[in-house]
């Protein structure tokens, strides 16, 4: 027989030290038409019960001073109030809590987080069950041993079965939630894998782009060098050829003069042609690893730069203490040497100075070839020392610097040839050190 909510609504005492939880509970119960009072802990609860006996107590377990179990026990021990139904709020983290609830004398428990329907139905059940009182079944004490602890349970069979069902229901619910979470995780995982794949493809593309850009940069550098090599020969050729008709006009075009001029011109033309061949050979990608002499390769690389080192004049000294061999990709190695020399040339050209020098030393240390290329251009500022090998880093401005040269040089030496490329500042300038 349910009491009509308007006439005399049942009074429920909420005991919870968390104000938010208490308020939540209060709102749910008040909405159902119950009369609610709130205590913040067990002691306050007992005081309130003494003043105004509630029809039901809903209590949290973890509370300061007197916890939910203790509150339960005290209520059960006091004659006037021992029959008040008690619902305990547990968070179901410890199975022993179920046994403890039973031992303490709680009628029901509900696990947090709870949904409001389950709570209301339990509240109704608890209030209804109160009417029936403890008439059914035996109330003998049952002793339960669980994980080394002994529990003495005095609840009746109905209560125990009810509790078990509730426990099972909760377990099923939790299981369902778990499966859902697992599914969501799987979906998330799949999405993540896809993202990783896409990202890897992107990075691979970037790598390709970098490679392409570095080749273009090297090509650009080469074309610049060729232009330098050809400029003077072209000037001289132009003047030489123009001389011929002029001398004819002056009446001085002798057979000797003609032959001499032609011979000079052909020499120039052949020199220019050799430059093309030199650069073409240099720029051809290596098909295979070969054994090559370091000194020879550096000398031929230098000859490609002849023109660019004239104006302003840069003196290059090669000091070869040994004549080591390297087994690797010759043209790629030459590319690295050229890149470092080009950078040195740029640095030396930028400053106003009298004696521009580059010193190249070659020696063998153990089974490694060690090459150093040092300039007297003043050195690299400390602030950018750590960055010069980074891709896309350049100090030459967007028009002239591509920023890929040193990055690719290091890549070639370290990845393709298993060596090392480093730089340090000396008293006069920068010194690059290659060990292969």
């Amino acid at each position: 027989m349910k009491k009509h909510p308007e006439k005399n609504p049942p009074g429920i005492l909420i005991v919870d030290d968390s104000p938010t939880q208490a308020m939540l509970l209060e709102l749910i119960l008040v909405k159902e038409g119950y009369h609610v009072s709130v205590a913040q802990n067990g002691r306050e609860a007992l005081d309130l019960i003494a003043v105004n006996r509630p029809d039901l107590v809903v209590s949290d377990i973890l509370m300061p001073e007197i916890d939910g179990f203790e509150l339960c026990r005290r209520i059960r021990m006091a004659e006037e109030i021992k029959s008040i139904p008690i619902i305990l709020l547990t968070n179901l983290s410890d199975p022993a809590e179920v046994l403890r609830s039973l031992e303490a004398g709680a009628n029901y428990f509900i696990s947090k987080p709870y949904n409001s329907e389950a709570l209301i139905s339990l509240v109704k059940q608890a209030l209804h069950g109160k009417e029936q009182s403890r008439t059914c079944g035996d109330n003998d004490e049952v002793n339960v041993l669980y994980r080394g602890q002994s529990f003495s349970i005095g609840s009746n069979k109905d209560q125990i079965i009810d509790l078990l069902l509730k426990t099972y229901e909760t377990a099923v619910e939790k299981n369902r939630e778990l499966l859902q979470a697992k599914n969501e995780l799987r979906t998330l995982n799949e999405k993540l894998e896809k993202r990783v794949e896409e990202r890897t493809a992107q990075l691979r593309e970037k790598d390709q782009l970098l490679l392409l850009q570095s080749r273009q940069a090297a090509l650009g550098e080469m074309i610049g060098n060729i232009a330098h090599q050809w400029r003077q020969p072209l000037n001289i050729l132009g003047l030489t050829i123009q001389q011929l008709p002029l001398f004819h006009d002056f009446g001085e075009l002798t057979k000797e003069f003609l032959h001499q001029n032609v011979a000079n011109s052909m020499e120039l033309i052949q020199h220019m042609s050799r430059t093309i061949d030199d650069f073409r050979n240099y720029f051809r990608p290596d098909k295979e690893k070969v054994e090559f002499k370091v000194l020879e390769t550096i000398e031929s690389s230098l000859s490609l730069l002849e023109g660019s080192l004239q104006n302003p004049l840069i003196t290059v000294d090669i000091v070869a203490e040994d004549d080591p061999l390297i087994y690797g990709y010759r043209n790629e190695f030459a590319q690295v040497i050229l890149n470092i020399l080009n950078n040195a040339r740029d640095a030396l050209t930028e400053r106003e100075m009298d004696d521009r020098r580059v010193k190249i030393t070659i020696c063998a240390e153990g089974n490694k070839a060690v090459i150093t290329i040092a300039d007297n251009a003043g050195g690299i500022p400390e602030g950018i020392m750590g960055k010069i090998f980074d891709p896309y880093f350049t100090t030459k401005g967007p028009q002239r610097g591509t920023g890929v040269g040193l990055f690719m040089s290091r890549s070639i030496i370290e990845k393709n040839m298993g060596g090392s490329l480093n730089v340090r500042n000396t008293a006069d300038g920068a010194e690059f050190r290659i060990e292969v």
Binding site: R231, L234, N235, T240, L246, F247, N311, P312
Partner: protein
């Protein structure tokens, strides 16, 4: 340092160019085309300036990129000595024509390399005409 002497030297020209082969070719041709002119040659700006101070030539034909002292600097200093000197600049780099990069310099003539003699002759002849006018 060369000079082609003539009983009455009318005009003197200073040639500054660091590439010797080119300098030689220029002198050979100019000596024949302008037999009345006195030619002075220098392979860098410093020597060029010294020669200028010594002989005060009327026309200066110079390259831009030279060791020790570049063409622009030399021109600057020469102008300070004799402002009405005629300047003919020879240069190979269309974009990067000036040492210092910023200031705009005025020259009488500006000739791109490879040099076309026709263009060079025309420039020199125009300078000669202007000098003749000034002296008149």
């Amino acid at each position: 340092m060369e000079s082609m002497t003539d009983p009455v030297p009318s005009v003197s020209i200073l040639l500054a160019e660091d590439e010797e082969a080119i300098l030689k070719l220029l002198v050979t041709i100019l000596a024949r085309k302008f037999p009345d002119a006195v030619l002075y040659t220098a392979v860098n700006g410093r020597t060029g300036l010294e020669l200028f101070k010594a002989h005060l030539p009327d026309i200066v034909i110079t390259d831009i990129k030279m060791p020790e002292m570049g063409g622009v600097q030399m021109v600057d200093k020469i102008r300070a000595i004799k402002p009405d000197t005629k300047f003919i600049i020879l240069t190979g780099d269309p974009g990067k024509s000036f040492d210092s990069g910023e200031k705009e310099f005025e020259f009488d003539h500006y000739i791109m390399k490879p040099v076309l003699f026709g263009v060079l002759f025309a420039a020199i002849e125009q300078c000669l005409a202007e000098i003749a006018q000034q002296q008149a």
